[in-house]
Amino acid sequence: MRATTMETLPLLSVDNLKTYFFQDEGTVKAVDGAGFDVFPGKTLGIVGESGCGKSVTTMSILRLIEKPGRIVAGRVVLRLANGKEVDLTSLHPDGEEIRSIRGAEIGLVFQEPMTSFSPVHTIGDQLTEAIRLHSKANKREAHALGIEALRNVGIPNPERRIDQYSFQMSGGLRQRAMIAVALSCNPRLLIADEPTTALDVTTQAQILDLMRDLQNKKGMAIMLITHNLGVIAEMADDVVVMYLGRVVEKGPVDAIFHNPKHPYTRALLDSIPNINAQTRVKLPTITGSIPHPYARPRGCPFYPRCPRFMPGTCDKEEPVLTSVGDRQEASCFLYQEGRDR
């Protein structure tokens, strides 16, 4: 269900996206009906455990999924600057249209800055490549623009750094450079996939500050993928919680953190170690573990681990996203109409 209580229309709408991986041993439903909206100038946080489909979702948006994976259903609607809408799933994965969107409309920042840069090309080479792909700049102009881009992300001495290789920089500088490359063509949406996971805490804080700063300056939307609830709390305006390829809860960040409705969200929040918690008490965890992708349970994917499991209901059918508050939705039979509470 789409939230349209605000005047602005979503920049990116993901609707019932399904991406499956067809392998010899079976089919992995990496994303199984995910849907959410990203609004201009706002930050959407996608949170979940490893394997819940967060990264596959972002890859699907930019059509970067490779064999044996394939988008089997759903739509990803991008609203362009001129108001036109384009369904990214309908584009050819290597066609001109999607390529003009990659980098120019949507920028992508990866988790591992070290391996996201080619070890044998300079930072500048890769930076100016992006610039020249999406604009009419010649080599000299692109070079100057590149230096500016590096300066904007807070890299000192960008004239020197632009000709360096990724291995000559520290982790923090590399990630800044990665952000510079992603933003070099002024995209309206920045997708950041675990951008701070590989960094130490201090650098993490700096990078997050940088991203927020850039968002304010350029008015761009951010889609932040992470498993770190602390980062979400700090950065996100809206949150999407994913489990086993599906959205189990979504809503404004305050609602999610202070009033979680889905048992999984509750359990996630409970398992965060709290400095004020009682000492010498076992840390709460979520019982069980993520089921094998080939052995998904029938019905609600979370029921084997759910403390509110209702036999006869949760293991029969799959729940759908139901409204549980102001712009908050959860996919759980506890809230679904027509079922016993």
Binding site: I101, L108, F110, H121
Partner: protein
């Protein structure tokens, strides 16, 4: 970077020196010396050599002195550009080797060019289109190239050429050009005869390089920087050629150094089978006759060619891999 070059240069010199010692030792391993085998071949053809004559011959050739003295004399001469006399031929070694060495180099280079021109594109294609029909075909052909030793391939090629086409595919020149002085026509004749030896020599190196390139590229294709470049909007074939291929080339280039000795070595046996007038048959005869100057010079020259090849490949590697250039390993 300069330190790297200098170090490599020093190693090259050290290696060449070691090869010279080894070459010398090997030539002198069989008991007896040139004079003994000379005497043996003389008596086999009916004439006898007296004790005095043998001694005189020894003195003349300097074979009566200790082995250390002989070695230093030999090295001294070589450094002055004098490779000595080929005892059996009675002519300076350089004369005897000259043409043949040039031809060996020509054939080796032809084989190397053939190898590269084939292995690189096929390797890239196989990696990018893994598990396709063509990939399987190339892999199969690659295995054949790997499993069939050069001389065997030469034998098979000669056999089929002879029995199916009535051709004698051996030799590097048509009969009328064999002894003729060099001319444009002779060069062209050489070129038309090159494909078969280049193919035979190159095919197993090609097979190996295809496998290396394919597996290197497969490793790189999975890496994040490839996806990263795609996410910037780069077209697919540019993504492949600009990034993973460049990175996969590095270990590939480092194998160039060993390609030259490999081909030169391989060419020896293939030359014997295909009757190519190169170094190989000459070396064999020289070893059997214990012709020290000839055999030693050939082994030394082959070794030098090898070391040069390795050195060039080191330089190439340094040039294309910034990680080595800028001092990080």
């Amino acid at each position: 970077m300069v330190a790297y070059i200098i170090r490599r240069l020093l190693y090259a010199v050290l290696t060449i020196w070691s090869i010279s010692v080894l070459a010398f030792v090997i030539i002198h391993l069989p008991s007896g010396d040139y004079v003994t085998s000379y005497i043996a071949s003389m008596s086999a053809s009916g004439s006898a050599v007296s004790e005095g004559e043998a001694q005189a011959l020894r003195e003349q050739l300097g074979l009566d002195q200790s082995i250390y003295v002989q070695y230093f004399k030999w090295i001294g001469l070589i450094l002055q550009g004098n490779f000595g006399m080929a005892m059996e031929w009675g002519r300076p070694v350089l004369d005897v080797i000259g043409d043949r060495l040039a031809l060996t180099i020509v054939i080796s280079l032809a084989a190397i060019v053939f190898t590269w021109a084939l292995a690189l594109p096929i390797g890239i294609f196989s990696a990018v289109h893994r598990y396709s029909l063509l990939d399987y075909i190339f892999t199969f052909v690659g295995f054949i190239g790997l499993a069939v030793p050069g001389f065997m391939l030469a034998l098979l090629v000669m056999y089929f050429g002879y029995s199916w086409f009535g051709l004698n595919v051996g030799g590097l020149f048509s009969p009328e050009f064999a002894e003729a002085p060099w001319s444009i026509a002779k060069v062209w004749d050489l070129i038309t005869h090159l494909p078969v030896p280049a193919f035979v020599l190159g095919i197993s190196g090609t097979a190996q390089m295809i496998r290396i390139m394919r597996s290197n590229l497969l490793d790189e294709l999975r890496k994040p920087y490839v996806v990263s470049s795609r996410a910037r909007g780069l077209a697919e074939n540019r993504v492949i050629m600009k990034y993973p291929v460049r990175v996969a080339m590095n270990p590939f280039v480092s194998t160039i150094g060993y390609l030259l000795p490999y081909v030169v070595s391989g060419s020896i046996i293939v030359s014997l089978v295909l009757s190519l007038p190169t170094i190989g048959p000459l070396l064999l005869k020289a070893l059997i006759a214990q012709d020290m100057f000839l055999a030693g010079s050939i082994v030394l020259l082959l070794g030098v060619m090898t070391v040069i090849g390795t050195f060039i490949s080191d330089l190439l590697l340094m040039w294309i891999d910034p990680r080595i250039r800028l001092g990080r390993h």
